[in-house]
Every structure is written in C-alpha cells, then in structure tokens.
Subunit: 222 residues, 2 copies
DNA sequence: ACAAAAGTGTTGTGCTTACACCCATGT
DNA sequence: ACATGGGTGTAAGCACAACACTTTTGT
C-alpha cells in the first residue's frame, strides 16, 4: 500500500506558507510575485521545497529565515491540497502552513537581496493569487481565528505598544467582524495579560489613549 | 523554491489513517498487522499510497472501500509527520487523516479477502504500534474530541439504537474522562437531536432503559 | 462650538458544573 | 430483601451579547 514517488513522473511535494504579520490595526500577509509560468507575474503564497534531511517545520523556518530574514516563529499546518487538477503541469501536492512573524521585523531587506519581489498585503486587499492560493489563504485565516485569544501565543508577535483600539482593529480584521468595544476591552482586561505602559498615543485621536503591551509573565498553552 | 521529488531517492509520501468506529460503549480503531520489515508482525495504522489521478481524500475513500469495505465517510487531516528519522530506511513523509465508519458495518470480510490481518481495538487497549503511529493516533483522537458534539457529523456513524448510558460510555472513552450523568443527558437532550424509539433495552440492566436514535432532520455544520 | 475617538457598567441569557435520591427490576 | 443501573432537578458561577452616555482634546 505504499507508493514510491520515483514511479510518478513530475509528482511534486511543496509547501505553501501564509506568513502573517500582526500590525497595529490590520492583519497582513506576505506574498511573492511569481516570475515563471504558470501564473507568471501573479502574486502567490511563498512556496518552499522540502529537502531530505529536514522536517517540514525545519525547512519552513530555514527558508523563511534565508529568504525574508524572519526568525522565532512556529509553523502550523492548515491543510493538504492534493486535487490532481490544481496544477495543470504535473501532480503538485501542497502542504499548507501558516506562521506569524514579529511585526517589528517586517522589513523585506533579505528578500531584495535574493531578488525576490515580495510585499505585505492587508488582508482585505488581497489581489488575485496563483493556483488555489486564495483558498489556502482563506482556510489558514480560519485556523488563525481560533488562536487569537491564546495570548501566550499571540503576544510573541506583538512587541510594539498598542492602544486597545489598535488591538480591536486587528482582531476585527482577522475575524472579519465588528466587535463591541466594551466587551472587547473587558475580555482582554480580564485575561489579565495587558500592562499599561503609562505612555499615551496622542497622534491618532483627539483624546489621548493609553498604550499597552502584553505582560511578560504570561505562561500558557501555546 | 520548488523541489522535484525525482531528485530525492527513496523519498516516499504515504497516508496513515485512523479508522474509528463509534460502538455502543467504546471508541475503537482499526489496526493492521505489518507483514514486512521494519516492524514486521507489529500492529500499525493502515498505510495508503497516493496515486497521481486522485486527491488524498479520493485515495483514502477508494482504498478503504477496497480493503475494508467501508463507504460514506469523510477523511479529516490531522497532521503531517515529516521527521527525517521517523523511518530508518528512507525519507517517509506521512499525511495523517482520521475517518469514522458506520458501526453497523464493521465486519472485516473484505480485509480477509485481501489477506490482510486487520482488527478493531478498543481505544484503551492499543498495543505497541509501528513507527510513530501511536503519536499519530493520539493526535487524531485529540481532533476527534473537538467533533463529538457536532451531532450532524457524529450521527452519520451511529445507526444502531443506543441507551443514554451507551452514549455516555462512548463519549467518556473518547474524552478519556468521566462525565456527570445528569449533565450529559441534559446536554444531549437540549441539543434536540435525540428521538426515543419507544423500544427498551432489557438485557444490560435490571431496570429497562430507553433506546434512542439521532433525529433524521438534524441539519448542520458538518 | 463641535467633531472625533477614548473610556466606562449593567443586565439578561445560556452553558457548565456540582451534587443526591428514588425507581424498576432481576436475582 | 437487596443489588444494579435508570432516571430525575436545582442552584451557583461564568462567558457572552446587547446596549448609550460622558470625557478629553484638536480644530
């Protein structure tokens, strides 16, 4: 009942990865522009090949570090895409993962060195994507939604101080719904994970708003 | 960034599948005895190879039907196991899925025809398993736990009438905890999914107990 | 003065948990 | 008669959703 891939010409296993960034008010995802056919000149999720001496997670971490310079994240599996028609050229099975990277660290110097055209896209401004990448992205966001109140996990990727409105905007963009301001604040505050930095944001509104960060001493589920 | 598997000798993609059966009082899983090395004569999860013209889900459904005779189920992805050391012989990447099959239909005639040694194991009586199959199984049960109160999904696989005690025993074996009898019953009854068949079970206890089935007209999430 | 965002409490509903006794029946 | 599992209700706590007004400050 085992199939050896050597017997399948042009059968390819690849990894598609949704690299998310939790910015002050918006969820963003990193896309790269395809150079070759098919879908040349179309934005797509970064695609990674698997090499023999590494697990998928190791490959993802190494390749993302090499190509984009990001470190310290945990890839999470979101699906396997194996429809034989998804790539017209040959059998292309894609393992889909997502990761979040630190929003302080979202410059794309590394990708420029590698001559990769890469850019961040806010989640409500996603262009047409290659293959079934849009579906992959949508499914990944669904799984991301399940993690947003897991503060030990989320807080790793939000280093910059934020107002509660910033955070609510971010959560609304992930959940794709409006949240009630009072309920949202109470929920976060009772999670006991926020620390008031004492600093104020004065530029985004008339009234000053408090800047928070996540407490260092949250320990948790991950 | 794409890797063509042709360049990787002995790189194998396989599917491991946890086939669960929701019996009257216990969760069971189907295991097969390996004939060849490594782990010959050891119980293992059924392993399936992927062929080019099918998606993983299609392959799983076809192979399970061929080998075991089960139909009408939906495979669900539970993980990708890609540790390069998990199989000492060669690179063996395993996609893990689970499915539930109808407990009325759990005879293993088909597997005997194929000269497969296969058997059902109650979940608290799992023997040593080949490779990392135990870990795969444990992770699959974790995901199964999330689905047990999704009655539209679960009810597809429980056709036989059951007492509430039967059902509670089953749920306790999946969750691996004791449940409170009154709370369990109230929860199921308020889900509005149970129909009293009017028939009674007289053999498992002194007092007669009502036999229920799931309502036909549940529609839902899946 | 006014526009714009910050900030703040209460109430109802439903889900979850904990908990103990009587009933029907087979032996 | 008694042992066995079947069956039942209540109360407390918690999470969640709905909802509107005052405050501060830049213009």
């Amino acid at each position: 009942m085992i199939v050896d891939n050597r017997f399948y010409s042009r059968q390819i296993l690849s990894i598609n990865i949704c690299i998310f960034s939790l910015n002050l008010n918006k969820l963003s995802v990193l896309l790269v522009k395809k150079k070759k056919e098919p879908y040349s000149n179309t934005w797509s999720l970064p695609e990674i090949g698997l090499i023999n001496k590494e697990s998928c997670e190791q490959t993802i971490c190494r390749e993302i570090k090499n190509n984009f310079g990001f470190e310290n994240f945990t890839p999470r599996l979101t699906g396997v895409y194996s429809d034989p028609k998804r790539d017209k050229r040959f059998r292309n099975i894609s393992l889909a993962y997502y990761t979040i990277v630190d929003e302080n660290n979202t410059s794309l110097k590394e990708s420029k060195k590698h001559n990769l055209e890469a850019d961040w896209f806010e989640i409500d401004k996603i262009p047409e994507l290659a293959f079934d990448n849009k579906e992959v992205l949508i499914n990944s966001i669904e799984l991301l939604k399940d993690k947003i109140y897991d503060i030990p996990f989320i807080s790793q990727y939000i280093k910059q101080p934020f107002t509660l409105t910033n955070l609510q905007n971010l959560y609304e963009s992930i959940l794709n719904t409006k949240l009630d301001k009072r309920n949202f604040r109470r929920k976060l505050l009772t999670l006991n994970c926020l620390v008031d930095t004492g600093r104020k944001n004065t530029k985004d509104s008339h009234k000053k708003s408090s800047l928070f960060k996540f407490s260092r001493k949250i320990k948790g589920e991950n």
